[in-house]
């Protein structure tokens, strides 16, 4: 009987929270489809692209969470790289197994996030973004300088997370691991972002002074956002260092601008500060980038980067809401809540009107 009760409760909760909300139903169906995708006979190269999507989406969602708390970072690769180097160094010097090194390196990332959160309390907006832009570059310089950190080649030959699998099974396992990583982190971040704590983050994003005046400890929340964001980005980095997709090594590429910029690109495509936007954006980005531009039109890397950066620039100027967010808002068919852009547009109008 308790089982039936539990099932009924689950069904009601599903019906009210997911089935009745079109965007969520869409997300739910996509998740189911994506989880069966590897069995539809897709080649390994496509699977690799999908694994890459999972990593990028995790990174992008964690970046987006930070934006939601009013702290746009231009160097999110820092956490990605720290996660990778943390687990790699722990393996290199202590020889511990992956299930010890990955959580420990995530803890290291959390520690770094606390440090950065504390030190960035005094700076805001563009200054914060520049400080965060500088961090991964400094770390890259340090990594390339010390031979103990592997210099340009990085730390190689890290163990696999699932060591006893055949070639095909390995990719499948990696896909499901990263898919679980993406889904779970997106759900957790979405839950936090749309909870009472998340409302505080948005309040800080809108008006920090007013939030302070409401008796909210803004510093605490800002550091908290850094910790949560750094935790998931670090986890993605730690898993990436052990994955075959990244050649099982922690190298300076983990700290490169690609892992700072692609989260921004996909978030702008999908809609910034929404959590679901970057997920949507990552798939659109990869669909256009890998499948249409690369496979079908055979455009080289440089031109593709140029195309995307130009698109993002135009989107940021002309359509800051993003594609995913516009669709979701049309689907929900709700009265549009006052959002950041509108507030900013008002500020701009005031500025222009004098």
């Amino acid at each position: 009987m308790p089982l039936m009760k539990y099932l009924r409760k689950t069904y009601t909760s599903f019906a009210t929270h997911i089935y009745d909300v079109p965007p969520r139903m869409f997300a739910f169906l996509s998740l189911i489809m994506l989880s069966f995708l590897p069995f539809m006979g897709i080649p390994t190269t496509t699977l690799q692209v999908l694994i890459r999507i999972n990593f990028m989406a995790t990174l992008a969602v964690s970046w987006d969470f930070l934006v939601r708390s009013g702290q746009a970072s231009l160097g999110h690769a820092l956490f990605f790289g720290m996660g990778a180097y943390g687990t790699a160094l722990l393996f290199k010097y202590f020889g511990w197994p992956t299930f010890v090194t990955i959580p420990l390196s995530v803890l290291i990332c959390v520690g770094i996030a606390v440090l950065i959160g504390f030190s960035c309390l005094r700076v805001k907006g563009p200054y914060l973004a520049i400080v965060t832009f500088a961090f991964p570059l400094v770390l890259t310089g340090i990594v390339k300088y010390f031979p103990e950190l592997g210099k340009d080649a990085g730390i190689k030959n890290l163990p696999r997370i699932f060591p006893t699998l055949t070639y095909t099974e390995r990719w499948l396992a990696e896909y499901y691991l990263t898919f679980a990583l993406m889904t779970i982190s997106a759900i957790i971040l979405y839950k936090i972002a749309y909870s009472k704590t998340g409302a505080t983050f948005v309040a800080i994003l809108d008006d920090e002074l007013a939030t302070k005046a409401c008796g909210i400890n803004v510093s605490k929340y800002r550091i908290m956002a850094f910790i949560i964001s750094g935790l998931f980005a670090g986890l993605a980095g730690a898993i990436a260092a052990h994955s075959d997709l990244f050649m099982r090594r922690a190298s300076p590429t983990f700290l490169s601008a690609e892992y700072s910029f692609v989260p921004i690109i996909v978030s702008v495509l999908g809609g910034m500060a929404t959590i679901y936007g970057p997920l949507f954006g990552t798939y659109i980005y990869t669909l256009i980038d890998s499948f249409i531009l690369k496979e079908m039109l055979k455009i080289d890397d440089w031109t593709r980067a140029l195309i995307f950066v130009t698109i993002v620039l135009i989107l940021l100027i002309k359509w800051p809401r993003g594609i995913g967010r516009t669709i979701v808002e049309k689907l929900e068919d709700l009265e549009e809540p006052r959002e950041i852009e509108e507030v900013q547009k008002e500020k701009l109008k005031k500025l222009k009107a004098g």
Binding site: F135, K144, I317
Partner: protein, 308 residues
């Protein structure tokens, strides 16, 4: 005693020269911040395209000018580079940053992505040359002795040109009507608008001057120090410019010059005394940026920084 004294002179003379050139590179960044409050990271890209445009124009002038005027080609090239980069800079500003004025984070993302766009365009145009990096011509050879220190003529000339640029900018902003309008904008936006100053045009002008100064600075830097240009040099130079401006204080021209000099001295000391640390040199400006922004965000001479 004698050797340490000559070492000191080395640091002072060479550090001053490189500091002045760095200050010229950073000056535009400070100017545009002071006038419009925009942190324009695309400054790094203008430094980069300035170098490329100069090299190309120099080649064209060398081949088209008659032989007896070939000495004039670098001068013509520098002037036309400054004008061209200024035009590109102001058009870029009008098309992108001006549209999102007031939204600081969007400005930052757009200006950083703008750098990437210029980088890709330069890479796509100069593709074959990029791998070996773009060769830069030497303008004048020869050495002179300055207070017992041997200095290359082109470095000394570059320092003098930088000083001329500072004075030129100072005269422009304090003695002309347009310059006064620029200063008025930086002091009080609303009052300036009430006086009938066209802000959009003034911002474009400031962006153009900033880009022009950046290109002149980069030309002087790469020709006198024989540094090859590359499509990726903007990261390094943007970091130099930003750290200098942060040292001196955003929006303050005096601060920028002093910041540039400090940067030049430190750079020279590290290069001559601790060559082992040379490999860490690229991250040095970033460390300055991080420490300065966290510890003293308004710099040593900053006038107005809206942090709170």
């Amino acid at each position: 005693m004698n050797s340490s004294r000559s070492f000191m002179m080395d640091i002072i003379i060479l550090g001053t020269i490189s500091g002045l050139i760095y200050a010229l590179i950073a000056l535009g960044f400070s100017l545009i911040y002071g006038v419009s409050g925009v942190v324009n990271l695309t400054h790094g890209a203008f430094i980069m395209i300035g170098a490329y445009i100069f090299c190309e124009l120099n080649k064209i002038f060398l081949s088209t000018l008659p032989v007896e005027f070939s000495q004039l080609s670098p001068i013509l090239a520098i002037l036309s580079t400054a004008v061209l980069t200024a035009i590109i800079g102001s058009i870029y500003y009008r098309l992108t940053l001006h549209q999102v004025l007031g939204d600081e984070v969007a400005i930052l993302i757009i200006s950083l992505f703008g750098c990437t766009i210029f980088q890709q365009i330069i890479y796509l145009i100069f593709k074959p040359v990029w791998a070996a990096q773009y060769p830069v011509p030497t303008l004048i050879t020869g050495e002179l002795t300055l207070l017992g220190v041997r200095v290359e003529v082109d470095k000394a000339l570059a320092a003098i040109l930088s000083i001329i640029s500072f004075i030129g900018l100072w005269v422009f902003t304090s003695r002309t009507k347009v310059g006064n309008a620029l200063r008025a904008l930086s002091q009080d936006l609303e009052a300036a608008m009430l006086m009938g100053i066209d802000t959009a045009k003034m911002y474009m002008l400031a962006a153009g001057i900033a880009a022009g100064l950046a290109s002149v600075g980069s030309v002087l830097k790469i020709t006198s120090y024989a540094e090859p240009a590359s499509a990726f040099m903007w990261v390094e130079y943007m970091a130099y410019a930003f750290s200098i401006v942060i040292l001196g204080g955003l929006g303050s021209v005096k601060g920028t010059v002093i910041g540039g000099l400090v940067f030049g001295y430190v750079h020279t000391i590290v290069e001559s005394r601790f060559p082992r640390l040379g490999a860490l040199m690229p991250i040095f400006p970033f460390i300055i940026i991080i420490i300065m922004l966290i510890v003293r965000p308004k710099g040593f001479f900053g006038k107005r920084v809206e942090m709170e």
